[in-house]
């Protein structure tokens, strides 16, 4: 207890939970009460944001390096295991708290407009509130187990929201896929927890991180195993290779959900976890390299796929995977780059949320247009769009801001954060050469990012309109309830870089210093700072790459030559491989899913269980007994002669046994 507003941090998750309970009840019994739902749904989030701000101010005012711990009740007290339900307020969690409640509030607001007509309105807000609750538990949890509650809880909400329109099989499939794939990651998380507990005797962050340097040999098998398993969890939650496949499918959910869960908050939980466990990763250089390498590779790989997607949300989904890869590259690099990762997390939350919500606006408009003419066309296919800037100028303008930000065009928020990551990777590369490779990959990915984002904007908002004659009459800008939040996000995307304006640009790197209490313990080994000259060169390369990407796309792509989706010819060659996402889903399906189902059904169930154990074993024994009985009764044929013979045989046997 500090006697400050931070003591009331529990109010934030509790408000969200209350929102869930109330909206859930409304969803079941009064689904038509949409006004009440909106007030509750948005109200609790705004309330939580206020709590977050107050907590942040109070905590900042304390000027302490020690996390604030709030224990509420004893959860699992068993022997040496003493798990409490406890929250922790420190520099990292306050940043996350602000991002989650801030972006969350905007997206809730946007949803009021976006979901207005949906019959599942109340259910939607109930799920969304529940998500925020779990997300807050995740970022505030003071031990691994509480964090895990949030971790799986957000997965659950993601599952429910992806499959929100559950009467379509694809949607329900996508939700389930998300949950199951995440569970694979959670398997790693769970095992890591077990190993951590038996190594350090605790699951509390403070105790574990305090004891880690003593409990583990640096670079030893135990710590490497733990961190790799933790990272397995992160690859699931944050959609990294090899578990990223669920995220593109997750776009089946309502678009604000994609913005909130699958871009801004939940998917960054993995980054948060690695940052949180920086101490552990610092002890395991191999794991750090794996994290950074996986991040870099994912960044590149997802970007290649994004090049050839036609679905506007899928482009953004792969873009998200790619950007998350950057964040992992950052947190895997360690030390100061941790802060860069969190920085990118924040800026990405702004511009990606903006992009998703913007695309939501577009889809909203397209959908309305097609709906008005009862046309069965795909409202999300960019080939059906084109020239939309004339109909929705605000959206177009705001999305351009976000595009420039993500492309890394100077002075937009993404420029600073991405540049910092690449610079950190390069710096680490001066000590560990493999980071130079990661840096190079990151650079190529940046180029591709600029390219495919420009492509997206070009096809959507520029060139001729391909929507169709009659539909065109119905295209219009979204209501203010939706453009309002976009505006806020646009501002943040533009100026978000101020959060952590590096010294190079005359800033004081505020976020960097703020997070120092958390990141300083995660320093791997001393990396000599880059000279200003090198830094300028790197900035130059990054800017060149971004500009090259944007301009290249602008020059190379001809939106005028596109035909609407239904008339478009199939892709050929490598384009087709990209279009089909390198066939990874198919490969997973053929190598893992189908064999397991086949094994379970044909071998384990039908052969082993039904034929072998139950058939040959159990019923076989019964049948055998009956067969022997039937055989015996054939001797019992009513003939006295046979009975006498049996008798005499018996006599002989008894005599033999007695005398012999």
């Amino acid at each position: 207890m500090t006697g400050t507003a931070a003591d009331f941090v529990w109010l934030a998750p509790l408000l969200a939970l209350a929102g869930f309970v109330l909206n859930g009840a409304l969803a079941l019994w009064r689904p038509a009460a949409k006004t009440a739902v909106s007030v509750i749904g948005v109200g609790v989030l705004v309330g939580a944001f206020v709590v977050a701000v107050l907590t942040f101010r109070a905590f900042a005012g304390l000027e302490t390096d020690v996390p604030l711990l709030f224990r509420y009740w004893s959860w699992m007290p068993v022997g040496e295991l003493q798990l409490d339900v406890a929250l922790q307020v420190d520099q990292l969690s306050t940043v996350m708290l602000l991002v989650v409640t801030g972006v969350g509030s905007l997206i809730h607001l946007f949803s009021v407009g976006y979901m207005r007509e949906d019959p599942g309105y109340a259910r939607y807000f109930a799920y969304l509130n529940l998500f925020v609750f779990f997300m807050l538990v995740l970022v505030l949890g003071a031990n691994f187990a509480v964090l895990f509650v949030g971790w799986e809880g957000v997965g659950l909400c993601s599952y429910l929201l992806i499959g929100f329109w559950f009467t379509e099989t694809v949607n329900a499939d996508a939700g389930r896929k998300a949950f199951v794939v995440n569970r694979i990651g959670d398997f790693g998380f769970l095992l890591a927890m077990l190993m951590i507990f038996w190594a350090t005797g605790s699951l509390d962050f403070g105790a574990v991180f305090g004891q880690a340097p003593a409990a583990f040999d640096a670079g030893g098998a135990a710590i490497t195993g733990i961190t790799l398993l933790l990272f397995l969890g992160c690859t699931g939650k944050s959609a990294q290779i090899p578990l990223y496949t669920w995220l593109p499918d997750a776009m089946q959910g309502p678009t604000p959900v994609s913005a909130l869960i699958h871009a801004a908050t939940m998917v960054t939980a993995g980054v948060y976890l690695v940052a949180r466990c920086g101490v552990l990763f610092a002890l395991a250089p191999l794991s750090s390299a794996v994290v950074a390498g996986t991040g870099a590779l994912t960044a590149l790989f997802a970007a290649t796929i994004a090049l050839k997607q036609w679905d506007i949300k899928r482009v953004l989904a792969y873009s998200t995977i790619s950007q998350l890869g950057y964040m992992f590259l950052a947190v895997g690099t360690g030390g100061a780059a941790m802060a860069a990762g969190i920085f990118h997390l924040a800026t990405h939350a702004f511009f990606k949320a903006l992009l998703f919500l913007g695309s939501g606006s577009v889809i909203f408009a397209m959908h309305r247009a097609y709906h008005a003419t009862h046309s069965p066309e795909d409202a999300q296919d960019m080939r059906n769009m084109g020239g939309l800037r004339r109909f929705m100028p605000w959206t177009a303008m705001l999305m351009w801001i976000a595009t420039l930000a993500i492309a890394g065009v100077p002075f937009f928020s993404g420029f600073f954060s991405k540049d910092e990551i690449l610079a950190a990777a390069f710096a680490r590369g001066t000590v560990h050469p493999q980071w130079l490779v990661f840096w190079a990959i990151g650079l190529v990915a940046a180029l591709l990012t600029a390219f495919y984002m420009t492509r997206l904007m070009l096809y959507t908002f520029h060139g001729p309109n391909r929507t169709g004659e009659r539909e065109r009459q119905h295209l219009a800008e979204a209501p203010w309830m939706m453009t309002g939040p976009l505006l806020v996000l646009g501002v943040l995307s533009a100026v978000g870089g101020l959060l952590n304006l590096p010294a190079l640009w005359g800033g004081n790197a505020w976020l960097h210093h703020w997070l120092e209490p958390v990141t300083e313990s995660a320093v791997v080994d001393a990396v000599p700072p880059l000279s200003h000259g090198t830094e300028w060169v790197l900035v130059g390369i990054a800017v060149a790459v971004a500009v090259l990407g944007v301009v290249g796309a602008w020059r190379l792509l001809k939106p005028a030559g596109l035909v609407p989706a239904r008339e478009a010819p199939a892709e050929r060659g490598f384009q087709r491989v990209l279009r089909n996402k390198w066939y990874v889903d198919e490969i997973y399906d053929a190598l893992i899913v189908r064999p397991i189902v086949w094994l379970s059904r044909e071998v384990l169930w039908k052969r082993v269980d039904q034929r072998l154990v139950d058939g040959a074993g159990v019923n076989g024994a019964a049948r055998a007994a009956r067969a022997w009985g039937a055989l015996g009764t054939r001797l019992q044929n009513g003939q006295v002669g046979v009975y006498v013979a049996l008798f005499v045989v018996g006599v002989l046997l008894v005599l033999w046994r007695a005398i012999g």
Binding site: G24, A27, L28, W73, S74, W75, M76, P77, V78, G79, E80, L81, V85, R123, A145, F148, V149, W151, E152, G153, L156, Y159, L160, G163, F166, T167, E168, T169, N171, A172, D173, G175, R176, F179, V180, R183, I184, D186, F187, L190, L191, M193, L194, M195, F197, W198, I596, V597, L599, S600, R601, L604, W605, V608, D609, V613, D614, G617, V618, A622
Partner: protein, 496 residues
Amino acid sequence: MYERWALTALLVWPLVAGLGVMVLPAPRARAAALVASLVEFAISAPLWWTFVPDGGMQFLADYAWIPAWGIRYTVGVDGISLFMVLLTTFLMPLSVLGSWNIPRRQPAFFGLLLILTTGMIGVFVSLDLFLFYVMWEVMLIPMYFIIGVWGGDNRLYAAIKFFIYTMFGSLLMLVAILALYTAAGRATGTYSFAYTHLLSQATQPGPTAWWLFGAFFLAFAIKVPLFPFHTWLPDAHVEAPTAGSVILAGILLKMGTYGFLRFALPLFPGVALHETVQFAIVALSLVGIIYGGLVAMVQPDFKKLIAYSSVSHLGFVMLGIWALTLQSVQGALLVMINHGISTGALFFLVGMIYERRHSRMIDAYGGIARVVPLFAAILTVVSLSSIGLPGTNGFVGEFLVLLGAFRHYPVATAIATTGVIIAAAYLLWALQRIIFNPLTDPENERLTDLTPRELLVLVPLLACIVWIGVYPKPFLRRMEPAARALIEQVRPAPLP
């Protein structure tokens, strides 16, 4: 007063009430049964508060029964059996309420349910091996009738399979009990079936101890059920009426694991902790977890799916028991309780939808969340509890088991942990095919949502799901001394 008579009252009351209910006219029988089961619960409720967590047996009652053989009526509970008793008395009123509209011969059905209660509680409180054995077998009969008379199409096969399977194991246990009795009698000169007496003579590994352990193992393994002794379970679960399935899964299966905790481990610590036995049992638990989950995944029948998922869950319990750490044993106990609650609730839900639609096939449904949102919501919550989502009871139990087991069997625990993936795969897939996906069958359009009575059955279970998930301490606190005592008894010196 309460101390001495509580358990006896718990045993006598349902028997008497059950016989009484049987002769009542049909419309009044169910109400009487509900009252009787609530009274039973009321009798048992003070156990929760008056129980002192000290590791010893409490509420002891001890009277001579057949002195010629040293058979006594000895009952008592400790931190292990307390929860089994409470789980039983908790589930019984719900089962009665859940079978409110059971067709045909209602008085007999509710009477048998109550008599079954006596048998089940008897198993958990008996501290005399003769009494234990009698209770263990006696409870078969009502269950046999419940499956055989009120079950599904294939009920006769399921009933006789259930009966013979269980009997096969338990009769060999009977021989083992007798051999144990004889051996202890020879060694001490006192011939007695008292648990404490036989426990004090717990034998060191020798050829006999191996055989005796084998007999006990078989009896309990069938009940648990461990692979490959599990095939009675899918049939019995599927064919039994709702209350039968709930009790089978909720309580009867726990008798197997309870038997391991109470008898097989403490009586034969040398054999039970022998390397080969440890390996075999841990391996079988793993097979149960993985195999049960995989087979559950491909079941077209929802009840069968739940049945196989029980195999999987009980695998966790066995792993927890054999790991013999404080966390794993308490986790195993919690999983036992949780499984009773979650799987019980699942069976109730299947039963409720079955009453409306007369199909247990997953394919028969789809998209019904739109028609019956309340049902869908509760089914979702219960399924999540069953797959161990943190914040629900399922997580606490499984987490403790895995945490505890990891200490002694890291590799096995790692394999067991994959069970959480499989659980999500099979249950969510089934969930999707039932409540999500397009609503294709017009019959499903006409489904009606849960009635207040059905809600009354489910709400207590949901409350427990959340309670144990969020604040399991009251449970853990009460079971810890008993778990500690058990571990010290079996494994006096900690492993190196």
